[in-house]
């Protein structure tokens, strides 16, 4: 098992929320990087590899879904766990998206950060095995 901390990319234009997620993840022993929109996130993802990507949906310049699509286009991120946070009524289309883009989990806002931490751990555990 890898001792190096797992790297999580947190993407949300809501700075306060990104910070609190970061706080929660840091507390759980992860290394975190935040990005304010999809484009910046994509650049960061290209530069260095992340183990998990947590992204909001409604963002300027590139939405979460588009970011997903772009990441899935890259071989490194084909299997990367991606979690989508959404405030919109995308709940109706989630099954389709999940199937199409292989989004591993979705959280509708407001959500509990500890649940998010738990989900991240579960996904990483599943990825290893």
């Amino acid at each position: 098992m890898n001792d190096k901390a797992q790297r999580i990319l947190i993407v949300d234009d809501n700075v306060a929320l990104a910070r609190v997620i970061q706080f929660a993840m840091d507390g759980a022993g992860f290394e975190t990087v935040t990005a304010q929109n999809g484009r910046i996130a994509f650049e960061l993802a290209k530069k260095s590899l992340f183990d998990v990507v947590i992204t909001d949906q409604q963002m300027p310049e590139m939405t979460g879904v588009d970011l997903c699509r772009n990441l899935r286009g890259m071989p490194e991120y084909e299997d990367c766990p991606i979690i989508l946070l959404t405030a919109k009524g995308l709940e109706l289309e989630l099954p389709r998206l999940q199937h199409e883009l292989e989004i591993d989990a979705t959280f509708s806002k407001p959500f509990s950060p500890s649940t998010l931490v738990k989900t991240v751990n579960e996904l990483l555990a599943a990825a290893v095995s």
Partner: protein, 608 residues
Amino acid sequence: MFGSHPKLGFPRKVVACYLLFCMATVCWLALGVCLISHKVLSLHSASSCLSRLGKTAAAIEISYLRHGQEKLQHLTKQAQVEGGLAYASIIGPNGIYLAHTNASLRDMPALRPTGSLLRWGSVTGIRFVDQQNRTLREYQVPLTVDSQSIGSLQIAVVEPSVSATLASVAQYAPITVLIPLALVALGALVLGRLTGAVAEVDDQLRQVALLPPGREVSLQRLTARNGSSLGWNRIVESLNELRNHSGDQSLNKRLTEAIAVRRQNEQLDILQNLSDGVAVTDMEGRITFANRAIKALLGAEATDDVLEGTVISDRLIHNMPELAQCPLFDPECTNRSVVFEGHRHGVKADRVLRVSRQPLVGGQLKGQVWSLRDVTQQKLADKMRDQFIDTATHELRTPLSNIKAYAEMLATCDKIELEQQKEFCNIIDSEVTRLARFVDDLLSISSMEVGSLSADRQKVEIARLFEEVLDKIQPTMQKKDIQFEVRLPEKMGVLELDKEKIVAVLVNLLGNAAKYTPSGGHVSLKVKLEEDLLQIAVEDTGVGISPEDLPMVFEKFFRSKDARVQAEAGTGLGLSLAREVVRMHGGDISVESQLDKGSTFLVSIPLE
């Protein structure tokens, strides 16, 4: 003569006749007066002559008795003078003039004139013409003294001629003739007056008589002077009424016919003027009727592009290709109504058209009725509303997420430093405030929709109002490092406004200015307080508003598509709320803007 005079009316003839006969009467009377005067004068002269004769005879007889023939001449002269005689003479028994007023004839043989004889008792008289062409009357009476004839006495007078009579009467002429004439004239006037109304009626009647047959009789009212003119007017009125009424009756018939035709045309007009396109097709799908609107919607406005006779499905699919697959044209569905919406790509803009087809049932017409409606606006409104719901959901859930996340952290985490704890609590607090503000906006918008938004105008110290505004907006300005200039009037005093709402409007405007102005920009608040007007200008050097968006900024839910605007959070409600509040105060809000340069929002509120 008068009876057939063409110009004179009956009453005037009456007056003319009256005048004529009166004049005739007056003349006759005048003549009569002359004749009678003449007669009277003659008689008078005759009788005075006779009495003179008698007196003179008696005087002569007495004088003869006393003095013989001495005074006879003197007496004749005296008689002549007293009686105004032509001459007087005494003829003796021998036929010699014993005395004569013409002294030369004395002692001459008497010449007996010849003429017509007159006789009164013992008095004889002769009427003759003398050498001077005067008509004389000589009266003779025998003289007797002591039963002895001493001769005869003759006196002669000039017979009064007609001209003499006239001359003597002439002095009375003015009175005797002119007064009757004046009375007659007066009578004519009065008569004229009395017959005046009748004269007007008579005129009208004769005019009517002159009209050619078949021409409509028209009578005029008269000035109401007396009973007959009033009566006449009544007749004219009832005649006119009758005429209108009978005119009405034939008019009614024509009207009823015209109405039927008009109704038909009206219904056609209604169809033609509908904003919805309407078409009727026969059993084969060929257009038998197409109104103006459907021609426009299908792009067939050119006069030579006739829709009637063409197959409707061709036209529709040509305009909206996506209709090709829909059941509108499915022959299986002809007895069902079908509605379909499709896009029509236009030169200026894409339009969404709703096509509905319904079978014609019940009447004599067989086929289908098609209705085409442009629902682009509706769709736009729906889209805006959906957009709003999206935004609203986002605006509600974002602060909620933050509150939940931070609260949970605070509750579950043991390792948070006190400073961080405080920070987390502050974040929760400000998110709650944000949420509350948004909920207020939503409530205001729904009140606005319902129409229950009202301005609670109270006396407000303007200085304090602006203080509150500045308090609320300063943090935002500072955060973005924006130059904030405030210009307030010196004397601010007290005005009647709904402070809460006005403050909210100004905070919104200034908030927008700050939101859409990049860091380092400039925002100004300038307030002008005139006698009857409060003017507030919020100016910024921000992203500005494009000319296409400018007319829409005050619409509910409107948010510009400009990326810089979309990047900021917003509901599209602030400006429409601001407009509503300002209008409730009787004022207005307007905007001037240049893309990339900045915008100026101007609020004007009239003061009572």
